[in-house]
Protein backbone atom coordinates (compact mmCIF):
# COMPACT_ATOMS: atom_id res chain seq x y z
CA UNK A 1 0.00 0.00 0.00
CA UNK A 2 1.23 3.48 -0.85
CA UNK A 3 1.54 5.92 1.99
CA UNK A 4 2.71 9.44 2.66
CA UNK A 5 4.23 10.50 5.93
CA UNK A 6 4.14 14.23 6.68
CA UNK A 7 6.70 15.32 9.23
CA UNK A 8 6.78 18.76 10.78
CA UNK A 9 8.68 20.47 13.59
CA UNK A 10 6.69 20.48 16.82
CA UNK A 11 4.89 23.66 17.79
CA UNK A 12 7.02 25.90 19.91
CA UNK A 13 10.29 24.75 18.38
CA UNK A 14 12.04 27.50 16.46
CA UNK A 15 12.17 26.61 12.77
CA UNK A 16 14.89 28.80 11.26
CA UNK A 17 14.13 27.56 7.72
CA UNK A 18 10.55 28.75 8.02
CA UNK A 19 11.74 32.10 9.41
CA UNK A 20 14.23 32.57 6.57
CA UNK A 21 11.52 31.90 3.99
CA UNK A 22 9.14 34.23 5.77
CA UNK A 23 11.71 37.03 5.72
CA UNK A 24 12.43 36.52 2.02
CA UNK A 25 8.80 36.62 0.89
CA UNK A 26 8.08 40.39 1.13
CA UNK A 27 11.12 41.18 -1.02
CA UNK A 28 9.55 39.02 -3.73
CA UNK A 29 6.25 40.84 -3.40
CA UNK A 30 4.45 38.19 -1.34
CA UNK A 31 3.04 40.14 1.57
CA UNK A 32 0.78 38.79 4.27
CA UNK A 33 2.38 35.34 4.60
CA UNK A 34 3.25 34.32 8.13
CA UNK A 35 3.91 31.32 10.38
CA UNK A 36 5.90 29.47 7.71
CA UNK A 37 7.10 26.10 8.99
CA UNK A 38 9.14 23.66 6.93
CA UNK A 39 8.78 19.90 7.32
CA UNK A 40 9.34 16.95 5.05
CA UNK A 41 7.33 14.41 3.12
CA UNK A 42 8.28 10.75 2.93
CA UNK A 43 6.55 8.61 0.32
CA UNK A 44 6.71 4.86 0.69
CA UNK A 45 5.03 1.56 -0.05
CA UNK A 46 4.38 -0.72 2.89
CA UNK A 47 3.14 -4.32 2.96
CA UNK A 48 1.85 -3.83 6.49
CA UNK A 49 0.51 -0.28 7.00
CA UNK A 50 -0.31 -1.13 10.62
CA UNK A 51 3.38 -0.92 11.40
CA UNK A 52 3.84 2.57 9.96
CA UNK A 53 3.35 4.37 13.29
CA UNK A 54 6.10 2.28 14.84
CA UNK A 55 8.33 3.02 11.86
CA UNK A 56 7.65 6.73 12.23
CA UNK A 57 8.43 6.74 15.92
CA UNK A 58 11.59 4.64 15.66
CA UNK A 59 13.19 6.11 12.57
CA UNK A 60 11.35 8.59 10.35
CA UNK A 61 10.80 11.12 13.13
CA UNK A 62 12.36 12.12 16.40
CA UNK A 63 9.24 12.36 18.59
CA UNK A 64 10.94 14.88 20.87
CA UNK A 65 11.12 17.50 18.12
CA UNK A 66 8.74 16.40 15.35
CA UNK A 67 5.07 15.50 14.80
CA UNK A 68 3.86 13.32 11.96
CA UNK A 69 0.74 12.36 10.06
CA UNK A 70 0.31 9.22 7.99
CA UNK A 71 -1.83 9.42 4.86
CA UNK A 72 -2.75 6.12 3.19
CA UNK A 73 -3.56 6.10 -0.54
Amino acid sequence: MKAKVLIRPKRGILDPQGKAIERALPTLGFDGVSNVRVGRLVELEADDPDRLSELCEKLLTNPLIEDYEIELD
Partner: protein, 228 residues
Protein backbone atom coordinates in the same frame (compact mmCIF):
# COMPACT_ATOMS: atom_id res chain seq x y z
CA UNK B 1 42.04 1.07 25.65
CA UNK B 2 40.08 3.82 23.83
CA UNK B 3 37.89 2.59 20.97
CA UNK B 4 36.89 5.15 18.32
CA UNK B 5 33.86 4.10 16.28
CA UNK B 6 34.18 4.53 12.52
CA UNK B 7 30.91 4.91 10.58
CA UNK B 8 30.60 5.46 6.86
CA UNK B 9 30.83 9.25 6.70
CA UNK B 10 32.80 9.74 9.91
CA UNK B 11 35.54 12.29 9.30
CA UNK B 12 37.11 13.03 12.68
CA UNK B 13 37.89 9.49 13.77
CA UNK B 14 41.62 9.84 12.94
CA UNK B 15 41.98 13.06 14.92
CA UNK B 16 40.08 11.47 17.82
CA UNK B 17 42.35 8.41 17.61
CA UNK B 18 45.47 10.58 17.68
CA UNK B 19 44.11 12.63 20.59
CA UNK B 20 43.41 9.44 22.57
CA UNK B 21 46.92 8.15 21.76
CA UNK B 22 48.42 11.21 23.44
CA UNK B 23 47.08 9.90 26.73
CA UNK B 24 46.80 6.14 26.25
CA UNK B 25 46.24 3.27 23.86
CA UNK B 26 43.56 3.57 21.21
CA UNK B 27 42.16 1.77 18.18
CA UNK B 28 39.40 2.19 15.64
CA UNK B 29 36.21 0.13 15.89
CA UNK B 30 34.50 -0.56 12.55
CA UNK B 31 30.77 0.20 12.54
CA UNK B 32 29.94 -3.42 11.76
CA UNK B 33 31.86 -4.82 14.74
CA UNK B 34 29.54 -6.09 17.42
CA UNK B 35 32.17 -6.86 20.03
CA UNK B 36 34.12 -4.04 21.66
CA UNK B 37 36.58 -6.54 23.15
CA UNK B 38 39.40 -4.76 24.98
CA UNK B 39 37.82 -1.29 24.73
CA UNK B 40 37.07 0.40 28.04
CA UNK B 41 36.36 3.94 26.80
CA UNK B 42 34.21 4.41 23.66
CA UNK B 43 34.51 7.55 21.55
CA UNK B 44 31.76 8.23 18.98
CA UNK B 45 33.49 10.75 16.72
CA UNK B 46 32.38 13.67 14.57
CA UNK B 47 31.57 13.71 10.89
CA UNK B 48 28.56 13.05 8.73
CA UNK B 49 27.66 9.44 9.47
CA UNK B 50 25.40 8.03 6.76
CA UNK B 51 25.50 11.41 5.03
CA UNK B 52 23.39 12.95 7.82
CA UNK B 53 20.42 11.64 5.83
CA UNK B 54 16.98 11.98 7.42
CA UNK B 55 18.37 13.67 10.59
CA UNK B 56 21.95 13.90 11.80
CA UNK B 57 22.75 10.70 13.70
CA UNK B 58 19.41 9.03 12.93
CA UNK B 59 20.77 6.22 10.78
CA UNK B 60 24.07 5.61 12.59
CA UNK B 61 22.22 4.57 15.72
CA UNK B 62 21.09 1.42 13.89
CA UNK B 63 24.61 0.29 12.97
CA UNK B 64 25.69 -2.99 14.62
CA UNK B 65 28.46 -1.33 16.67
CA UNK B 66 25.91 0.93 18.36
CA UNK B 67 24.28 -2.07 20.02
CA UNK B 68 27.63 -2.85 21.61
CA UNK B 69 28.01 0.82 22.57
CA UNK B 70 24.58 0.74 24.26
CA UNK B 71 25.62 -2.35 26.24
CA UNK B 72 28.92 -0.69 27.14
CA UNK B 73 27.00 2.35 28.40
CA UNK B 74 24.50 0.19 30.31
CA UNK B 75 27.44 -1.46 32.07
CA UNK B 76 28.45 1.98 33.38
CA UNK B 77 31.54 2.32 31.20
CA UNK B 78 32.48 5.70 29.69
CA UNK B 79 31.13 6.75 26.28
CA UNK B 80 32.09 10.13 24.77
CA UNK B 81 30.16 11.50 21.79
CA UNK B 82 31.70 14.40 19.91
CA UNK B 83 29.60 16.54 17.53
CA UNK B 84 27.99 13.98 15.20
CA UNK B 85 28.72 11.47 17.97
CA UNK B 86 26.62 13.61 20.33
CA UNK B 87 23.80 13.60 17.76
CA UNK B 88 24.08 9.81 17.44
CA UNK B 89 23.92 9.30 21.23
CA UNK B 90 20.82 11.54 21.49
CA UNK B 91 19.12 9.69 18.63
CA UNK B 92 20.01 6.38 20.30
CA UNK B 93 18.35 7.55 23.51
CA UNK B 94 21.60 7.30 25.48
CA UNK B 95 21.47 11.04 26.16
CA UNK B 96 18.48 13.34 26.72
CA UNK B 97 17.51 16.01 24.17
CA UNK B 98 18.17 16.57 20.50
CA UNK B 99 20.42 18.68 18.29
CA UNK B 100 18.53 20.95 15.88
CA UNK B 101 19.81 22.96 12.91
CA UNK B 102 21.72 26.06 14.05
CA UNK B 103 19.56 29.10 14.60
CA UNK B 104 21.60 30.94 11.93
CA UNK B 105 21.12 28.06 9.46
CA UNK B 106 24.85 28.46 8.78
CA UNK B 107 27.66 26.02 9.26
CA UNK B 108 29.76 27.47 12.09
CA UNK B 109 33.46 26.78 12.36
CA UNK B 110 35.27 28.71 15.04
CA UNK B 111 37.07 28.61 18.35
CA UNK B 112 34.68 29.01 21.29
CA UNK B 113 35.17 29.50 24.99
CA UNK B 114 33.52 26.91 27.21
CA UNK B 115 32.89 27.02 30.93
CA UNK B 116 33.24 23.83 32.96
CA UNK B 117 30.03 23.41 34.97
CA UNK B 118 30.90 20.09 36.54
CA UNK B 119 34.17 18.35 37.21
CA UNK B 120 32.35 15.43 38.84
CA UNK B 121 32.38 13.36 35.67
CA UNK B 122 34.99 10.96 34.28
CA UNK B 123 35.25 13.34 31.31
CA UNK B 124 36.07 16.51 33.25
CA UNK B 125 37.68 15.27 36.43
CA UNK B 126 40.93 16.93 35.32
CA UNK B 127 39.20 20.34 35.18
CA UNK B 128 38.03 22.80 37.83
CA UNK B 129 34.43 24.01 38.01
CA UNK B 130 34.32 27.44 36.37
CA UNK B 131 37.46 26.74 34.36
CA UNK B 132 37.44 28.10 30.81
CA UNK B 133 38.41 25.92 27.89
CA UNK B 134 39.11 27.10 24.36
CA UNK B 135 37.92 24.44 21.90
CA UNK B 136 36.66 24.74 18.30
CA UNK B 137 33.16 23.98 17.04
CA UNK B 138 32.29 23.04 13.44
CA UNK B 139 28.72 22.01 12.78
CA UNK B 140 25.42 22.88 11.16
CA UNK B 141 23.07 21.08 13.57
CA UNK B 142 24.29 21.83 17.06
CA UNK B 143 21.41 23.66 18.71
CA UNK B 144 20.78 21.69 21.88
CA UNK B 145 17.09 21.33 22.59
CA UNK B 146 14.99 19.64 25.23
CA UNK B 147 11.58 20.62 26.62
CA UNK B 148 11.82 23.11 29.51
CA UNK B 149 10.91 20.57 32.20
CA UNK B 150 13.57 18.17 30.91
CA UNK B 151 16.13 21.01 30.96
CA UNK B 152 15.19 21.81 34.58
CA UNK B 153 15.61 18.18 35.52
CA UNK B 154 18.96 18.03 33.68
CA UNK B 155 20.25 21.11 35.50
CA UNK B 156 18.94 19.90 38.87
CA UNK B 157 20.91 16.67 38.63
CA UNK B 158 24.09 18.38 37.45
CA UNK B 159 23.75 16.97 33.94
CA UNK B 160 25.07 20.10 32.19
CA UNK B 161 28.84 19.60 32.00
CA UNK B 162 29.94 22.45 29.72
CA UNK B 163 28.31 25.70 28.68
CA UNK B 164 29.30 28.19 26.01
CA UNK B 165 30.88 31.29 27.56
CA UNK B 166 28.92 34.57 27.61
CA UNK B 167 28.24 35.72 24.04
CA UNK B 168 29.84 32.58 22.60
CA UNK B 169 26.79 30.40 21.91
CA UNK B 170 27.41 29.50 18.23
CA UNK B 171 24.12 27.77 17.44
CA UNK B 172 21.30 28.96 19.71
CA UNK B 173 21.55 26.05 22.16
CA UNK B 174 19.09 26.15 25.04
CA UNK B 175 20.65 27.62 28.19
CA UNK B 176 24.05 27.84 26.42
CA UNK B 177 24.45 24.08 26.81
CA UNK B 178 27.53 22.64 25.09
CA UNK B 179 27.82 19.25 26.84
CA UNK B 180 25.48 16.98 28.78
CA UNK B 181 25.96 13.77 30.71
CA UNK B 182 23.44 10.96 31.28
CA UNK B 183 22.00 10.09 34.69
CA UNK B 184 24.60 7.39 35.26
CA UNK B 185 27.31 9.99 34.67
CA UNK B 186 29.14 7.74 32.21
CA UNK B 187 27.86 8.97 28.82
CA UNK B 188 28.72 12.49 27.70
CA UNK B 189 28.02 14.32 24.46
CA UNK B 190 29.45 17.66 23.39
CA UNK B 191 29.27 19.69 20.19
CA UNK B 192 32.79 21.23 20.40
CA UNK B 193 35.73 19.14 19.21
CA UNK B 194 38.27 18.50 21.98
CA UNK B 195 40.28 16.32 19.56
CA UNK B 196 41.05 19.44 17.50
CA UNK B 197 42.58 21.21 20.51
CA UNK B 198 45.38 18.90 21.60
CA UNK B 199 48.45 20.32 19.87
CA UNK B 200 50.20 23.68 20.38
CA UNK B 201 50.19 23.99 16.57
CA UNK B 202 46.49 24.86 16.78
CA UNK B 203 47.14 27.13 19.79
CA UNK B 204 44.86 25.61 22.41
CA UNK B 205 45.56 22.24 24.02
CA UNK B 206 42.52 22.48 26.31
CA UNK B 207 40.80 19.56 24.58
CA UNK B 208 43.46 17.27 25.92
CA UNK B 209 42.00 17.72 29.41
CA UNK B 210 38.93 15.72 28.37
CA UNK B 211 41.01 12.83 27.05
CA UNK B 212 43.43 12.98 29.98
CA UNK B 213 40.47 12.88 32.38
CA UNK B 214 39.26 9.70 30.69
CA UNK B 215 42.70 8.14 30.77
CA UNK B 216 43.17 8.82 34.48
CA UNK B 217 42.86 5.74 36.70
CA UNK B 218 39.87 7.27 38.54
CA UNK B 219 37.81 7.28 35.33
CA UNK B 220 38.39 3.59 34.87
CA UNK B 221 37.79 2.69 38.51
CA UNK B 222 34.65 4.87 38.59
CA UNK B 223 33.31 2.94 35.64
CA UNK B 224 34.39 -0.35 37.19
CA UNK B 225 32.49 0.53 40.38
CA UNK B 226 29.44 1.55 38.40
CA UNK B 227 29.50 -1.64 36.38
CA UNK B 228 29.79 -3.57 39.64
Amino acid sequence: MFGVIQFPGSCDERDALLACRRVGEARLVWHQDTDLGDVDVVVVPGGFSYGDYLRAGALARFSPAMEAVAEHAAAGKPVLGICNGFQVLCEAGLLPGALLPNESLRFVCRQVELVVESSETPFTQGCRPGQRLSIPVKHESGRYYAPAEQLDELEARGGVVLRYGAGQNPNGSAREIAAVVNEGGNVMGLMPHPEHAVDPLTESTDGLRIFASLAAPAARSASATLSG
